[in-house]
Symmetry: D2
Subunit: 428 residues, 4 copies
């Protein structure tokens, strides 16, 4: 009775991924936590997980590897966004698991733009080891000193000096840069402040060990450092890279960012749905187990409201996400802009809401590390800011909606009307 017909290939993959989850991922949760705590206690949390390494080897051997790779001319075996959705949702149930399958952000998005926009030389140097899982990468876009939701605010400067680009700026929320294997920083900066608004930026491939790159500190997210992945505050002090480090070409950074953020947002949303689905399971289980005032807590109708709302919200967010994925597959990321913005607003907020109820259902235990809920909540909450705050996406959605009601236009069918300005989505 499923409305969304997944391909046979995707269905088969989902069954295998589910089996791997049941057999390998869920049983390893305690080991992952113990490993992290032991390392933290020993004074260095910033080491790649041995547990994940072991699981990765198994996953790769089973072909559960790089599943995120989209189907393209070069990669005909790739999955459509619609097909990838249930796989990504499943990984979302256990946040660390995506790395096991080499499907974790920001590497997945970085691989995607390297695959799409990189030169053969760039691909050989950076994409191949990323696809192998031997290299990790970061995406340096957000800056601490400006409202980064407005791309024209980018302050990082990239100046040409002979055959080199020289980069000066500061970037933070450079996620994944805490991992010692992180060797590549994809840096967004301004090459030409005088160009048209969306031609000012360029994207450079910068070795993590280039002179002038300094990781200042890890940031915490509601008390979590998310080690060893991490969210880093990084200074770029006159970092010098050769001219061929530019991706796609000077002035095309904004264009790449737009291309990258669509699938990235989609994946975040799919994972948010997995987070929420697991939260609902934990909530139901807990409510059945505990008793107060003479009844199972599951028998109190105040929880019926929350369970019902959770189920309604999750299923709606999933359907909206699948629809957006299908739109990306069929009409392209650009035409699907409103739908992508919509799920970006809907899915993290939905997950945050369900997780909050699940935490409340667990009492004090819910805020501790004894359940995955509190940290999952922090992930959902930060997604209401990451890749553009809700407010910016809402403004985009509204602008496209209002454009359909332009008194100067006479189109009837609101579904087929393009947004008012070609760069509308670019404001995000």
């Amino acid at each position: 009775m499923d409305l969304f017909p997944h391909s046979d290939k995707a269905t088969a993959l989902l069954q295998r991924l589910q089996a791997f989850f049941d057999g390998e991922i869920l049983p390893a949760e305690a080991a992952i936590q113990a490993e992290a705590e032991a390392r933290r206690a020993a004074g260095n949390a910033w080491q790649p997980s041995d547990v994940i390494a072991g699981l990765s080897a198994k996953a790769r051997a089973q072909g559960l590897w790089n599943l995120f790779l989209p189907r393209t001319g070069d990669a005909p075996d790739g999955l459509s966004n619609l097909d990838y959705a249930p796989l990504c949702e499943l990984m979302g149930r256990v946040p660390w698991s995506a790395e096991v399958f080499n499907c974790a952000a920001p590497d997945s998005g970085n691989m995607e733009i390297l695959a799409r926009y990189g030169t053969p030389a760039q691909q050989a140097r950076w994409l191949d080891p990323l696809l192998e899982g031997t290299l990790r990468s970061a995406f340096l876009m957000t800056e601490p000193d400006v409202a980064s939701s407005d791309a024209t605010n980018v302050a990082c400067r990239i100046a040409r000096d002979g055959d080199d680009w020289v980069i000066s700026g500061r970037k933070w929320f450079s996620s994944g840069a805490g991992d010692p294997r992180c060797g590549l920083h994809i840096v967004m900066g301004k090459t030409d402040p005088d160009a048209a608004t969306h031609l000012q930026q360029s994207m450079l491939l910068v070795p993590a060990d280039a002179p002038g790159v300094r990781v200042l500190r890890p940031l915490t997210v509601f008390g979590y450092d998310d080690a060893p992945h991490g969210h880093m505050d990084i200074a770029l002090d006159a970092v010098r890279v050769p001219a061929d480090s530019v991706l796609l070409g000077p002035g095309r950074g904004f264009e790449i960012a737009q291309g990258r953020l669509g699938p990235g947002r989609m994946h975040h949303c799919m994972r948010s749905i997995g987070l929420a689905e697991r939260a609902l399971e934990l909530m139901c289980t807990r409510l059945r187990e505990r008793r107060a005032f003479g009844r199972a807590i599951a028998d109190f109708s105040v929880w019926h409201e929350r369970i019902a709302q959770s189920r309604c919200m999750i299923d709606q967010a999933r359907l909206l996400t699948l629809q957006a994925a299908h739109a990306m597959d069929t009409v392209g990321n650009k035409a699907a802009r409103q739908q992508i913005a919509m799920i970006k607003v809907v899915a993290p907020a939905m997950a945050e809401r369900v997780l909050d109820w699940a935490i409340q259902a667990h009492g004090g235990a819910g805020v501790t590390a004894d359940f995955p809920l509190a940290q999952a909540w922090s992930i959902a909450r930060v997604l209401r800011l990451a890749d553009g705050p809700d407010e910016v996406h809402c403004a985009s959605i509204a602008r496209m909606e209002l454009a359909r009601h332009d008194p100067a236009r006479h189109d009837r069918d609101r579904r087929d009307v393009p947004p008012r300005t070609a760069d509308g989505g670019g404001r995000r």
Copy 2:
């Protein structure tokens, strides 16, 4: 890029219905309102609309008639629920329009149960004129003196006396009974208070002019009497009908009610989506037209939030409704119970929310009859009570959800697990 593959037949119907809407329905809105006001001023609002009669004749001539009829063995030309959805949504944009196409509640639901459960004689007497649109009907279920959401509370008594049934009770919210053409009351009452919970009730076909049937008064819904349709308070004082007036059989009233309420709820939800879609259109148009404090009101970001949330909520509710419709088509109304309960909670509340914003966007005008918003709001609001209040549906949804987490069960896939009790949905 539409995820939901409507049949070619449905697509063609939708185009024709849309054309009829543009050419006939929307231009007639003022005439309908003027007709009602004139009649009210003249002292009798309880007359069938001449405007609708004229439109109905055109619609029928074009084959836009009885579109709600489901595809069954007897009616192979009927539409699936999924195919009917966009048609029903479109009608929802203008609440009085469903009658034009002989698709209005409660007649549509009444025709459905007569088609499904009626004897040939019952069908000849009641169903045929209903299908012709020459007869109207009401469904007498809710009672003023008990919490009718609990079917076991039904107080209307049906006693056997010789070859007759004798009915005594009081029913209200008998919608449609205000129309002079309303000739049939389908009455739910208790034939056997000592039987098992869901075998106590029976459903009888009662002529509206049977002795003892007294329409006490019309009820108002937030100040609207919804004349000439109306919501009537009706006394049944020892109303006597022959034995063959029972539908399906004694003790099967609950079973019929369950069967009837599924599609009825679905149609209410589809229409709610149409209501909300129109409200969003009106909201966007108004916000673009009016200026305050030096800018179009559409430029204030507080409205961007609301427009964006409206678009997100509408699209999600539509997807959930389509999914539920598809489930009804493929696995049946009983297996789709949780999904039907979900849309019943989601769609009216969504429409109420969007309508409230649209009203606010219109300022004082929004609460008047100059726009269809205030009355539409009353429709959405009352749907949070009609066919079971939200609380009862939430409890049903939660019960089915919790059943999936029964520690005594080991099924993994929450999607395929039936609800804990066979009669779970029956509590609605």
Copy 3:
């Protein structure tokens, strides 16, 4: 244990008013409703209520008359805003009751500005009969064709022609103008479109029977016409009044409006609290009376949440309103602007929320006229638009709040900082 020390005089008045409520008002509710229904059925709802006339005579005989009148130099017996608050809240429990005590809007506000700004001749002609309750009045400010929340949008023109003013414009939501006794329209219009923003408007005293004044129609508010009080749509076609009809002076209309709206908003909020308090009572009573699924509905915890939230919201709104009233009494309406705007946002929304739950608790009965809830809801809802929509008040509140954090200022105490611009509150 009451934090707010009401004067002995106010306490004594409250006891007497409460006794009158118990003995006269509540028992008359059915008669009021019956009278209105009978007149409506007879074809003319626009007649003053005989029931109210009878009650008014009793109330006046007991000195329960014109209680709203503020304490001023001229009226040393008046009550402070703080003292009037509980009286006004009590009247709010039964919306029609304020007229019994000659305390109903818009007469109360109109009397207040006549008392404060009228010449002796104006007072003799208009104020005295209003204080006697023999005259009724309306306040013509809102216009259908512009966003009236921005006072600079006022389109009604007032031109000088010899010794006369000539008024041309259209006004709606002229509440109270449906009453045949309504003899005075206080009209806001533009005398000088070229003057400084807040000196363009003037306020004129216009006899309701002046040539050119045409009541076009009554407006409905969610289906209610609120007859015989009513909300009228009025055309002013070259209405000519003598020069001495101007209140306070040409160009001072905005100043008067500001002075009028403070107490008016306060009274609306106090009455909203009374509405909500009664709704909570009805909700609790109903929930205790009805049973479903084997228990009193009052035993379901989903209702505990709503009852608790209602109690919390009501008590908070009352405290905020009392604080604002106290501020008006002690530092004046202008310095209390932020607080007045705050209660205007808080109290109607709170009442709307509590009323919605109360309606839901009553099932279908809640939306009918069998309980006062549905109409009360319409009152609360329209108050989110009347006297300035929530959005405008929120902007005012925020502007004053942000002004306290002006980097150019160094005041520490946020409580004593005036708003950034002298006319900030004037936008309301």
Copy 4:
């Protein structure tokens, strides 16, 4: 214009406390953070802060010490709850600051019950050093294995063995037990499971170094360990204490808990208001500083809504809290039960809401440790669970509200009606 007349003494204290805040507390925030980070990096965060120790000496020298102590017969210099409120709110702006003034939970509550219920010998041993600030203490009530919101669920057993009590159980969320100076655990356990419901529990004074007391681990709260204070998971394995360690007497643990939780909840709420007030300040400041899309973010109306709602919510919560404090002062903690439950529901949720907006206003920076917002959010969130989850308080509030509408009762004034059952509040 302040409605709540604070005593001259309280006003003077507030001025001095404010001066201390400006001169000492706010300037020390960076040092506190640096100290904690340095210690954590060095491998031991569980040490008392030297910065706080220095500030404490200054505060004590200025008489800003033990301000929480209520006025009682023994302590005539104590402050009323109403007088303490603004002091406590001010401390709430910087969560670590309460310890500077020896006013931090749980020590303040523990001192209060020792002062009220302790024997002279108990006071000499435990209360005196606590008042000196040389000892710290913990309150061991919550248990990991049961729903602790229902006091009858307490599983910790206290058995008499000769002249000793022997305690066996597990307690967590033992806040403050991470501090090396913590020498006293006040332990709630069951002495008589067969007694009447609220006579089963007793409270014992247990030295933190008693054999059998094992601190198993610190808990985290959304990633924060709140070191060195901490929230500890503690095993009590046949811990033996002498008979005179019982507080007040066997079977009176519940009674003490009730007495303790009133002021404790009040203080949490006052501090929550301080947290929210600071969040609003930071929000306004940030919104003025940052620009996007050509304007200061403070100019976007979506933020006006949030600022306005924040100001409305904060002021309302403060007024409700002051009213509850006044009720405690004038009619006692027991009669003020509903009001205490109300602020417990209102204030933390309000602070959580305001903090979430403030975080959103700060973009990514809001979730990091660069601003106090994220950690403050975790404090507000956990308060929706601590000292009873919202659901339990809502049920209490509703039970008392419903009791006022008992059809069997005829009292008119809802304000003076006691709750239905004498132990109603005891469930909290």
